[in-house]
Symmetry: C2
Subunit: 187 residues, 2 copies
């Protein structure tokens, strides 16, 4: 299983591709797309789309995992962040990749066991879980790797809960559960 | 010149492709993408991307024209609108199309002569300018056609002002003007 985790931001977008094979986790690539403030917002969105399209072409992830948006009070920032997220979502849909979204608390909790963990703690645990010698910088990268790890972790729980190998999408709805596990439902 | 005008919205996205050839304007296609509220926001964004990608493949516009975002006070709506706009901008960039953005007042003023015109007035003038018998509905479609007409109109003024045929991008910056018209600048 190969997962691309993305931490989209209006200034920097972190990304990381993790492969899980026979229980061994390895980072295939990770980095940050820093947007050039001199370019127009359209050019910046085009840049994010192109860079992530290249990552997808090179490392062929099966899932894309995103954090749900953290909403500030500022409408202008929400619009900018929305534009970046829209480009990322459009790309995942365009490549027919499953897209999973997780709340920031969910990611922190999956990585550190604590929903209110700091970015430093997430970076520390991500580095440890992936067997890296030093934490990749900046935090946008460790956050993105954390999102990918959270998705792999959730995938494991999904499999344990739903033994049907064909269930690839997020098993959050009751109807999916019923379809996947008719033997577990009393009708 | 063929222009695709888009009026992006979190519920409905209007679009219209207009061709201007020897001064004659004709609508090649127009319509509205109504998003299915039962689908996830990611699926909806994927749908907008796919539908507009098909319009671009079929009618090969040279420009994409968008209205700048009208910002409500609601952060959640700004994020949703941003996501739709991000998908549209990513598509235009991905197809190497010039993207022009106009403020709503600018569009209304170019179409009706009045920056505070109502949607009905814009629909009336768009119908008239394009020689249509009845106004296309809903207003998302006439708004999108208005945005395309505004872009064609601005293109004309750009040409009148900057006789260099090669100047295709929005001639808003002084440095572009200086490069395009060295004879008009006293050094």
């Amino acid at each position: 299983m190969v997962v691309l985790g993305i931490d989209p931001g209006s200034l920097n977008t972190g990304y990381g591709v993790i492969r899980q094979s026979s229980g061994v986790l390895s980072v295939l690539v990770c980095g940050v797309i820093r947007l050039n403030p001199r370019r127009t917002h359209a050019e910046r969105i085009g840049e994010i789309y192109h860079e992530l399209a290249a990552v997808i072409a090179d490392f062929r992830p099966e899932h894309v995992a995103l954090e749900t948006a953290f909403l500030s009070r500022n409408v202008q920032s929400a619009l900018k962040l929305g534009q970046v997220r829209g480009a990322v979502i459009a790309l995942a849909m365009n490549r027919n990749l499953a897209l999973h979204e997780y709340a920031p608390r969910e990611v922190k909790s999956a990585i550190t066991g604590r929903g209110a963990a700091s970015k430093e703690q997430v970076a520390f645990m991500v580095t440890r879980m992936l067997g890296l010698t030093v934490p990749p910088k900046p935090f946008d990268v460790t956050d993105a790797l954390g999102i990918a790890l959270c998705d792999l972790h959730r995938g494991e729980s999904r499999k344990a809960f739903l033994p049907d190998e064909k269930v690839k999408s997020r098993g959050s709805s009751w109807s999916k559960f019923v379809t996947a596990s008719p033997d577990k439902v009393v009708r």
